[in-house]
Each structure stands twice: as structure tokens, then as C-alpha cells.
Symmetry: C2
Subunit: 235 residues, 2 copies
């Protein structure tokens, strides 16, 4: 059963529509399970695009580099999506996971820092807009202010952040500024109602503001891992 503080997504709301799926015990998903959802979703999207109709938990496990039992356990956290022995319907499972991941009503997001990284991320939102709507972008560099950001929005000066947030009520900020700038602006963003961060800086928002939703992308960690592997292989 759903618990307090956890808004149960879709299966319980549309039990009749979903009756092809057997309902297993629903456990609150842990962070590792949640982190695997997008990968399941991505692989299922690729399978669907390649015309695959059914997939077993063991085939899906092989793609994920895990076990069939782990796959079934993961899906059981969301009520289970399959019938024993029949496997999963690829399209239906893809749609169902999509509904779990992305709300119908796009969440308004702003971008802080409209340099190269900011442009890259804006382009990203333009092409993969699922779940979010980039409604504003801010920078302190006068040469950027007033320019269009990938045709999505006009870059505003940071001094306009407060009135913008009071008017538009964005909930998510994409942080494309360095660590020091991120630390400086963190408090203001939280005060203005931002509760979730897609964070490309190395500033750890949760140290100063516990309870926020923060998804960190540490490109440096990824590159350092590659460096380690390259150094320890015979190339």
C-alpha cells in the first residue's frame, strides 16, 4: 500500500486500465531502484523501436547487467508489471515506466548560467523536453543578457531572478555555473521556491539545504574514472 509522504504514481490510480498487469506487493522503492528506472525505460524504448514485442525478466536482466530476480524485485516496488512465465509486453512496460518517470504536467524549470554548458543543456531540454519546461534562463554576463537561448527563452540578468520567480513559480533549477557561484546563489533560489536542482556544479546543495531534491552530474568524476581505466589497460 502507498505510504504517507510517497505520492503513489499510476498503478493504483488506474487499476482497471492496467488489469493486464498482475499486482504484486508494493514496496517503497530505494534510491538504487529509482536510479535503475531510467535505464529500464531507455532499453525498453530501444527494444520497442526495434519492433520487439515481448521480453522476459532474464533477457532484460542481461541488458541491465543484473539478475532476473533483481528485475522482478525492482518492478515489484511499483506494483509489478508482468505475469509469471509470460514475460513483459515491451510497449506497455515502456509506457508504464514513462508514466512513473515523467508527469503529464511539465514542471517549470529555470537555467542558471547561460554559457556553453547552459546552451548545451538548453538544447538538451529542447530535444528531450519530457517532464520539464524550461521557462527562464539567467546569467550575469552583459553580453549574454537579452539574447535568445536556443529559441527557448530570452536570457535575463540575475537581478531579474526574484521578480521572475515570484511571477512564474519555477520549481527546478538547472545549475550551469561554477561551484562558488552555485554556493552564492543557492540560498536565494531556495528562498524563491526552488526545491529541486539538476546540478552540474561541484557545490553540494544538500550540505546547506538538507531535504532538497538534487541530481548531481559530476562530469569530472566520469572523466577521472575513464582516466583510471585507460591508465590501467594496455592500449
Amino acid at each position: 500500500m502507498p505510504r504517507a509522504g510517497f505520492a503513489w504514481p499510476i498503478l493504483f490510480q488506474k487499476k482497471n486500465e492496467s488489469e493486464r498487469y498482475s499486482m504484486a506487493t508494493a514496496n517503497k522503492p530505494s534510491l538504487p531502484v529509482i536510479k535503475r528506472l531510467p535505464r529500464y525505460y531507455r532499453y525498453l524504448g530501444e527494444l520497442a523501436a526495434n519492433g520487439v514485442v515481448k521480453i522476459s525478466s532474464s533477457e532484460l536482466a542481461r541488458m541491465m547487467g543484473t539478475t532476473a530476480s533483481q528485475v522482478r524485485q525492482d518492478f515489484n516496488c511499483f506494483g509489478g508489471f508482468g505475469q509469471q512465465g509470460i514475460g513483459y509486453n515491451v510497449n506497455l512496460l515502456h509506457e508504464e515506466l514513462g508514466r512513473l518517470l515523467f508527469s503529464k504536467q511539465a514542471v517549470p524549470a529555470i537555467l542558471i548560467g547561460a554559457g556553453n554548458l547552459g546552451h548545451t543543456m538548453a538544447n538538451y531540454f529542447k530535444q528531450n523536453s519530457k517532464g520539464f519546461d524550461l521557462v527562464g534562463a539567467f546569467d550575469i554576463q552583459p553580453e549574454l543578457v537579452g539574447q535568445s537561448l536556443c529559441g527557448l527563452t530570452t536570457i535575463l540578468d540575475m537581478s531579474e531572478l526574484e521578480s521572475f520567480c515570484q511571477r512564474v513559480h519555477p520549481k527546478v533549477a538547472v545549475i550551469c555555473v561554477p561551484r562558488t557561484a552555485a554556493k552564492q546563489i543557492g540560498g536565494q533560489l531556495v528562498e524563491l521556491g526552488i526545491r529541486a536542482f539538476w546540478n552540474f556544479s561541484h557545490y553540494d546543495f544538500r550540505i546547506d539545504f538538507p531535504g532538497l531534491i538534487v541530481e548531481n552530474v559530476h562530469l569530472g568524476d566520469s572523466l577521472a574514472t575513464l582516466s583510471y581505466e585507460v591508465n590501467n589497460a594496455e592500449l
Copy 2:
């Protein structure tokens, strides 16, 4: 003891210089351990920058969200860096991990796709060049070819890739093109001697070329995780 196929990095080569570190049993590090190294390195860099001199395994564990025993086990994979009860010297440990992660001799890398993402990554290499040297960049768009890429290198047409690789022998490719283009060019890159990929596309290089070193950055997975968490919280 180091095993065949694993070039043991630094500790065994400079045992005398490192004698302040006690040498524990060296186990081959697993991928999760390797993936944690950059985070240790990053946290220790921040501690060093804040003037912290010593840190215990339990303090380090708290930053990493793990246990002191896990921290000690992780470091034991590399010969161990501490003396029981004394804690770690922050600066020395940071340097030692840096030597494990980044080779002195920068590895030559090329960039495939010099659009917004390519520019972002080139800028990234300009500012965080540790371990790699961006020696070339390639694109198919005529308006990009011939332009300077962030002052690092001149963007070349893809038709020049073969002669460039035969002349310069890059070992790593940063893939900043979409999935289809990545799949198309993968074979050529491998044939030209590229053995490691920093991959921003959704193409899974290891399906067609097992044995390659691939570090995937799936921005979409990260954004989908954020979306899930935002949808299931009261904002």
C-alpha cells in the same frame, strides 16, 4: 600482488617514497571501487583546499555516505594509505589518489561532434585537462570546419579523421554526436586505434566492440531520475 593484465600503478613502484603509508593486502579493485575513487579524490581536494590536514576513515565515510570499514577496504585495494588509529594525511592521500587516477603523460584524445555539447566538453578539457590532451576535433558541418574549438584545436572535417589518426595516434574519443552517428563511426574509430570512449551518445559501443573502455554519460537518465523524484515529492 599485481596480476597479469593489470598494470599496477604507483605504490609498488615507489614504495620507499610512500613509506609513511602502511601497505595492506592489495586486491584487484572492482568497478564500484574504481568509480568511488574520483569522489574520494574530489572530497579530499576540497578538504585540502579548506586547510584540513588529517581525516579519519569514519569522517571520510560520512562524506561518501558509506562505512569506515568500506573506506578502509577500498584503500586496501590500492595497498592501503593509512596507519591504524592515526587517520589519513589529507594532502598526501589526495596526491596519491591523483597519481592513481591521472597519468603524468597526458593521453591524446579527439572530439567527435563540435556542436554545443562538443564546445562544452572542449571547454571542460581546457579547464580540467588532467590526464588527457585534446589534440583534435571533427565535425561534418561545413560551417564548423576550420573554426577554432575554444582555442584548443581547429575543427576538421570528418574526411580528415583517418589521416589525422595515422599521424597523431589518439587513444581516446569524446563522442558528442547522436546515437546514429556514433554507431556509424564506431567501427572506423576502433580501426584507427581508438580504444577508449567518453560517450555522451546513447549508442552502446560495447555491444559491437566488447573489450573497449567506455565511460558513458547518460544525461537523460539523470534528468529522468530528477523527474521521478520531483513527481513523487510534495514541492
